[in-house]
Amino acid sequence: MFFVTPFLIYMGIVFFIPVGLILFTGFVSEETGQFTFEYFQAFFTQGLYLRVLWTTIEVSFMGALIVLLCGYPIAYYLAKQPPKRRMYLSLFVLLPFYTSILVKSFAFVVILGHSGAVNWLLRFFLGEDFGVQLLYNRIGVMFGIVHDMLPFIVFPILVNLLAQNPALHRAAEIMGASRTRIFWQVTFPLSLPGIFAGILLVVVRVMGQFVTPSLLGGRTDIMMANLVDFHVNDVLDWNMAAVISILLAVMAGVFLVALARLRGAQIFGAET
């Protein structure tokens, strides 16, 4: 216990006290100083907040789904590589960590922008009128999220795939199963724990995003973290800012619990 004390003090200063203050700000009325739900009420009764709440949920889950669809094949491919090559290829998967979102947003313009590579190709093949707006809207946000979150989905799944007992796949093959069947009936079910782990990481992270929506999204892609920023800096309504922060944390917590329950309901143990 003695050795934990400095850490506890540190955590107290940088975590517990500030979080406590936020809770305080959310639940205590500014005028009366009494405990109140008025700010929470305001959140749930005004269309603006509910809309942003919905957007946050939508973007989180849609983003997670798309990341999963993109990331699973990558993990699958990596699992099949010899170890050395796999290590080098993994460096590429980790690229999002090396680059800042501000720099990336420039790169996205070059690729996805109105005069960018994709639109140039589209117009080249389909004619002048076939430009598509891929930035400053939900599509742009999705690109940003998938790019950022790819490592978080690839590595949990990869670890799972590498740990799977190869004898199971061999046995299935000898019994006559095609590659497709082996994937859907053996590999995929056994990889569900990895998928859940990845989805959890992605959803919780995306819920709290605010730079990506503000740089790559449109005006309706505002998420709860952007709203917190707005209330703190522009409107100076720190009670509502606290409320939104608290709700965001609660949402992440609820999702975590739900996912844990779902996983516990399945008896996919470790492979023998």
């Binding site: 007992n165 004898a167 199971l168 061999r170 046995a171 299935a172 093959e173 000898i174 019994m175 006559g176 199963a177 095609s178 069947r181 009936q185 053996v186 079910p189 056994l190 399945q266 008896i267 996919f268 143990g269 470790a270 492979e271 023998t272």
Partner: protein
């Protein structure tokens, strides 16, 4: 154990024709020619790295040969992918799908073959009866014991009636008693169904117990191939002699070749009543005699047919049903004598000088290096 007559001159079930397998610079198999007869129980026996699992992998299709062809039931299947070969395989760690119930595990190959659900139900029930586990269909593999899991693995193998079953040290993970039970179980199943079984093990006792024929592998080559009796009573190399059963080895030179062979050794002269076809007078050879064929000579006995050698008692150990006596010979080499335990037995004290003897019929002459390359007698 009574073995059925597997004399069969029709097409072999499996034929490895000149098969070589290299892994980089390592030669796992060196021009193997092997025929597996229909309905026989063939064991691939050998130490780790001898190539036995490689042969299994080649037959199953998991790896392809570097050279040579593989035939199953008259068809060249060297290029055929594993999932089309219609074989069955049992693994050492069972390889049961942990996320499926026992029923689903066994039903898996049937679903692959697109059988109707009613048929599947029947077949699964049948095979569960066969392995004597009718109650466990709803359970998951993790809820079963090792022996039960192995039986389910076998059931899964049998349910779709493959013509060949490959077994890769399937009993290795079980304890001794269970292993012996399962050995009998497997033999029973093999006898009642008309299946060709290819069994891999490093346990020579297991091989001797279960096999119709044994293929002994050494470092990628076939050391000796034959019935258990062949290998046990007529080993053709030092390796074979030492791998199966216990052996006492002496070095010597042939003095007289002929119907009876005389060999001079450092501890005396020995006679062997079997003609030694591969060596002439003056060739250095090894003599082998099994411990159960050696006995400590009661004082005063003498017999020309016996080989007699002075020895000193070192130790005696009782192994339950047998007693082994360890003795030292004049030149320092050791000799083991094995007898069945009897009540009231008296054994000479340690340190006492005695004579050990064995019949000249039980002497086996082996080359110092390599093996005797006579084609095995038909059996």
């Amino acid at each position: 154990m009574i073995r059925p007559n597997t004399a069969d001159t029709t097409t072999p079930m499996v034929w490895l024709q000149g098969v070589t397998k290299h892994y980089g610079t390592v030669v796992a198999l060196d021009e193997i020619d092997l025929e597996v007869r229909r309905s026989e129980f063939l064991t691939l026996l050998g130490p780790s790295g001898s190539g036995k699992t490689t042969i299994l992998n080649l037959i199953s299709g998991m790896v392809g040969p570097t050279a040579g062809r593989i035939w199953i039931d008259g068809k060249d299947i060297t290029e055929m992918p594993p999932n089309k070969r219609g074989l069955g395989m049992v693994f050492q760690n069972y390889a049961l799908m942990p996320h499926m119930t026992v029923f689903e595990n066994i039903a898996f190959p049937l679903r692959v073959r697109k059988l109707k659900s009613g048929v599947i139900k029947t077949k699964v029930a049948e095979v569960l009866d066969l392995v004597r586990l009718p109650e466990v269909a709803r359970r998951k593999p993790s809820e079963l014991s090792g022996g039960q899991q192995q039986r389910i693995a076998i059931a899964r193998c049998l349910v779709y009636n493959p013509s060949i079953i490959l077994m890769d040290e399937p009993l290795g993970a079980l304890d001794k008693k269970l292993r012996e039970e399962m050995q009998l179980e497997l033999k029973r199943l093999h006898a009642s169904l008309d299946i060709t079984a290819i069994y891999v093990t490093h346990d020579q006792e297991e091989a001797l117990t279960m096999s119709d024929r044994i293929v002994l592998l050494n470092d990628g080559q076939i050391e000796q191939m034959g019935t258990p009796d062949d290998l046990y009573f007529h080993p053709r190399s030092l390796f074979s002699a030492e791998f199966l059963g216990d052996s006492n080895i002496l070095s010597g030179n042939i003095e007289e070749a002929g119907p009876t062979v005389t060999i001079s050794t450092a501890v005396g002269q020995c006679r062997c009543s079997r003609a030694c076809g591969f060596a002439e007078s003056g060739t250095p050879v090894k003599i082998m005699v099994r411990p159960e064929n050696v006995f400590i000579l009661p004082p005063g006995t003498s017999d020309e047919h016996l080989n007699k050698v002075p020895a000193r008692m070192v130790d005696t150990i009782t192994f339950g049903g047998v007693i082994k006596s360890y003795l030292q010979l004049a030149d320092g080499s050791s000799m083991v004598v094995q007898e069945l335990t009897r009540a009231g037995q008296s054994v000479p004290e340690a340190g006492s000088e005695v004579y050990v003897a064995w019949s000249s019929e039980d002497t086996i002459i082996l080359p110092v290096e390599g093996r005797i390359e006579i084609p095995a007698p038909p059996s």
